[in-house]
Subunit: 269 residues, 2 copies
Amino acid sequence: MELGKAEEIAERLRTKILDGTLAPGTKIASERELSDELEASRMTVRHALEIIEGEGLIIRYPGRGTFVSGAQERVLIEKGREIKNVSIQGSELRLSGSFLKDMERIGRKPYVRFLEQPSLVPATEEIAKSLQIPTGTLVLKRYRLQLADNLPYRIIESYYPSDLFGELLTIDIKDKPLFTWLQEKYGIRVSKAREILIARPANQNERQLLRISSGSPVVAFERTVWTETKRVVEWARIIAVAALYTFTYEYDIDDWNREAQNNDGHQTN
Amino acid sequence: MELGKAEEIAERLRTKILDGTLAPGTKIASERELSDELEASRMTVRHALEIIEGEGLIIRYPGRGTFVSGAQERVLIEKGREIKNVSIQGSELRLSGSFLKDMERIGRKPYVRFLEQPSLVPATEEIAKSLQIPTGTLVLKRYRLQLADNLPYRIIESYYPSDLFGELLTIDIKDKPLFTWLQEKYGIRVSKAREILIARPANQNERQLLRISSGSPVVAFERTVWTETKRVVEWARIIAVAALYTFTYEYDIDDWNREAQNNDGHQTN
DNA sequence: GAGTGGTCTAGACCACTAT
DNA sequence: TAGTGGTCTAGACCACTCC
């Protein structure tokens, strides 16, 4: 495979970072220095840096420099049903979905910054449809940014039916999980969730909030949570820094699906 | 918000595409033409195109031109358990996982190109671990590219235990789904799957095979498929063009998980 | 004030596509 | 052969950080 000059430079830097020659937190040579050393134009060096930046290997700060990322470790998000009696590779796998637990697991300090005060807002058509309520109904909105060690991880914009959650505006449930509180207060248990994911480059607003640069991908997903009685109790739009996340899903292949599931395999035309 | 020139051009094009002025499939002006019209250098125009390409709004083909794609043409991949008795928004949602079916649904002609002839290869450590067999055991390898209307969608590198699938080297099961054949031949039924996803920019090899440009994200995922008896019958590494995919997963929130699931919600420091 | 990354310019050559 | 996107060059100015 013939590599372009930028890819070649990216590969060199990638190797140095992954084998530890460049330790996390290290400031690497400036674009102009690299440009001289490697006999490439600055634009080419920049392109190489963009490539490995998107891979989460470096972070660039205007006016300061480019640093080896301390965050090679992706957060592992796991969803679905446990596969029992199976020795799972990697073995550190376990079910989880909690930002706090994920952060603890990799030894980071979690922090949540509210981008807006939680409030009651009329449901837009989209929100109403998602929560299965009439348009215009008041819903509890929360809009927040989650960070770990001051590094932004994701933006969460979430909506809840106000008859169940409205009083959260006035009372403080401290560290009690929201759905645990829901069960204790109303005896309502959450039961199922659906997540719809797409991956795309961050837009300008997201880049600012998540402090990533142009071209870095995010995973944008919508999450809907149902109770045992099929009522929707949460709908959220979440923007996660792609380089910091790994998503794991386990699912049953049911009869309906089994046939379709592997048409993949053998279509040769 | 002060926008740069490239962002400004991106916004102009984005608007024209989203409001229908530029219809899906339309060829848009070449980079050099845009450069003249908009009084920007070609590099600046290119940057603008890279931005909206990453958003899935356009597709660029070397030597041919740039075309409006329309984010609505993402393939919808759905996994997990059906949520019954729930009126699902969008309503076109249904369980599926088949490349062929997904393509049919959006009216495209599917095509599969084998990048290598299927063959028996000794399992590397990673493959062996994934298939739960000893390192070096012969496994059936398939390495192929899936396209629709000549547009590459994803690269699939898959491995199967050779005692079950080895004879596929000599016999032809035509259009019969692989796992349907497995069941008819051996009475073995697949039962569960796990997918581990990350999103990242494509590397050069992937860009060439998938014909996408630098900076475009891909979703890279590993899929493991188990039988009812917990035997692994497939392990695959899949690289999908992010702009062409939407992933949907549904899962149960079990008791183990329920508490963790929403710690998110209310941690304010 | 010196150095940094972010952006932009006006060229250039290449491989590929279409005709 | 003409046109396209992909890559690269050698400059330039800007806002910002650090000293």
